[in-house]
Amino acid sequence: MKKAIRPEQAAEMIPDGAVVMIGGFMGVGTPERLIDALVARGVRGLTVIANDAALPGKGIGKLVSAHAIAKAIMSHIGLNPEFQKQMIAGEVEVELVPQGTLVERIRAGGVGLGGVLTATGLGTPVAEGKRVVEVGGESYLLETPLKAEFALIRAYQADYAGNLCYSLTAHNFNPVMALAGATVIAEPEVIVPIGVIPPDSVKTPGVLVHHLLARAA
């Protein structure tokens, strides 16, 4: 049983300098109210692991505008000119990771794998400094796991056991990040009583979710 909490309560749990995974793709499937609460409490120095930096004023873009991010591990930042400026000014450190590699690194962290081998990035700047492992005569990059202190995820439907369902392209990184955060905070669109979601519809089992955000008032 998870008692739903308010966004301010969630934001207070997350200290300055925390390593945070945030779901979403260009702001779609991003926990907006959690981000608003983090901005409101003036969080600083976050390491954000996410697909992208979204746009100014949307999703992770709000953390960018608030200068709350010190380090980013992302696949794409090109649509947020403010983030580009902060990067060029040396205000934020950016590690660019191919999207498919990023999701596998997060999954590896979540499911206890020591790493995965992928051909993605071979022969490109992504390969620099990485181990190359041969399997069956083919070369692969060894990509290492990513974990976070917090995973902030967006869901479509939750029950009070913490079970989560997702909607359409708002799935994206959320189900995988739910595995990889030491503390998982989910922001669902609706919360229903336990027993309402059929077991076959659950995509993130409630045992992975630590806190649910209460619905908007």
Binding site: F25, V28, I77, G100, A119, L168, T169, H171
Partner: protein
């Protein structure tokens, strides 16, 4: 017979469309590549993947019928065709990396004589990140580069990419408004000429060496 006059991008999109066969799973990049979908018959049984999480991407919805949870990889509102499936990013890139994607169509900044593509950054100038491009080029069964032949008078098909590569893998085909070029182990082979374009004009606009068979045909368009 009246000949339709198409813009360069239109020519490219219409020529790429002919590469797509019924039943294929296809990923179209943002921008020019996304125009290809306009030239595929609705009943072809082609499924389009948006790497942000849907197989069976449909057209833009009528105004007032948008769903904030259903967008394409460019963030634009889309619909889902009957038989569509929602997938998370692990499945989406599992399909791409695992060789389940029949074709990807991407834009290009440079392609070189070995068929290597550079399309994700210009050092010191533009560092947007590779997004899904590296996985797409490394993993899709066929990789088609759809791009205008030259950029501001500079050749984009070059002896060796000066920009950082997207993958070490050879792309399958280059389609521009001037030519269809197939990278092979021997080099770049000119397969087709653009509408009304001569071999000499293609050579002049191409910095890399071209292997030119006798009388390459003019391209047909969808």
């Amino acid at each position: 017979m009246e000949v339709a006059v198409h813009s360069p991008k239109e020519i490219i999109a219409r020529r790429v469309a002919l590469e797509i066969r019924p039943g294929m799973l296809v990923n179209l990049g943002i921008g020019l590549p996304s125009m290809v979908a306009n030239h595929i018959p609705h009943d072809a049984g082609v499924f389009f993947q948006a790497e942000n999480g849907v197989i069976g991407l449909g057209a833009r919805p009528p105004e007032g019928m948008e769903d904030p949870n259903l967008t394409d990889a460019g963030g634009g509102f889309v619909t889902a065709v009957p038989g569509a499936a929602s997938i998370d990013s692990a499945m989406s890139f599992g399909l791409i990396r695992g060789g389940h994607l029949d074709m990807t169509v991407l834009g290009g900044l440079q392609v070189d004589a070995r068929g290597h593509l550079a399309n994700w950054m210009v050092p010191g100038h533009m560092v947007p990140g590779m997004g899904g491009a590296m996985d797409l080029v490394a993993g899709a069964k066929r990789v088609i580069v759809a791009m205008v032949h030259s950029a501001r008078g500079e050749a984009k098909i070059v002896p060796e990419c000066t920009l950082p590569l997207t993958a070490a893998r050879r792309v399958s085909l280059i389609v521009t408004e001037m030519a269809v070029i197939e990278p092979t182990a021997d080099g770049l082979v000119l397969r087709e000429r653009g509408p009304g374009v001569s071999v000499e004009e293609i050579r002049a606009a191409t910095a890399a060496e071209l292997i030119v068979p006798a009388e390459p045909p003019e391209m047909t368009l969808a």
